[in-house]
Amino acid sequence: MDDTNPPVSAVALDTWVDELRASSGDAVERLHALLLRAARFEVRRRAHSAPELSRQELEELAQEAAADAAVSVLRRLDDFRGESRFTTWAYKFALLEAATKVRRRAWRGREVVLDPEAWDRVEQLAPGPDASAEHAAFVAAVRDGMRGALTPRQRLVLVALTLDGVPIDVLAERLDSNRNALYKTLHDARARLRAHLTAQGHLGGSE
């Protein structure tokens, strides 16, 4: 896996992007090579999270990621405004695809709890015997907020992402959703929980 990339002049980059817009076969091949380097780079960085995967399987993931990223780049070429180098802009598509694929493969076969009421059994939300009265009251208020201030979907997403450590792309796959929608659910759940704690006097209004 060679991650080195020969330098490309600004003029050559402009020409390259123009050729991509014209769907030149050579330009698309160069794009694929660029994206494959980035995908391999990312797969290698994430390989420790999926130790059961062979080198060949990792290479296949990188190839799939590069192919999917090429489709995305070509589809969104008009979004490129030149606010960064084209290579940097294109890399992020390959990194996203590769990271997502590795996360999902690493979690294949692992159980993800999708019961909105299972949070009540999460040990991390149990007050400890040595907790101060103030800390115990705060934890109790958090539990109260989990129970009363959140929707079942918000509880499920919040617990899976923050307490169970489920990667957001994995949860999105299991819930037939997407990263952005789940992030918004997480954001809203946190906001509701913080508002509940503020109303109960456990957080300052500006926090």
Partner: protein
């Protein structure tokens, strides 16, 4: 026992309105500004807060930065 870390993960730091799609849109610019020593957090407001709240986007930010750094060093 509920630790401070658990509570922080659960509650987040509050505030950010940047979502994952918006993060993806500006990530390349943010990384290049950072590597150029520019005031990336002022020029791309809210992104740092999103990266603190979203582990997946944070991982991809770290990878993009590392990859661009590697290319610039070659």
């Amino acid at each position: 026992m509920t630790s401070e870390g658990t509570l922080l993960r659960l509650l987040g730091t509050g505030g950010t309105t940047v979502d994952c799609d918006a993060c993806f849109t500006v990530l390349d610019r943010y990384v290049e500004l950072e590597l150029a020593g520019a005031a990336a957090d002022e020029l791309v407001p809210g992104l740092r807060d999103h990266l603190a709240a979203c582990p997946a986007c944070a991982e991809e930010y770290e990878s993009l930065r590392a990859l661009v750094e590697l290319e610039e060093s070659n």
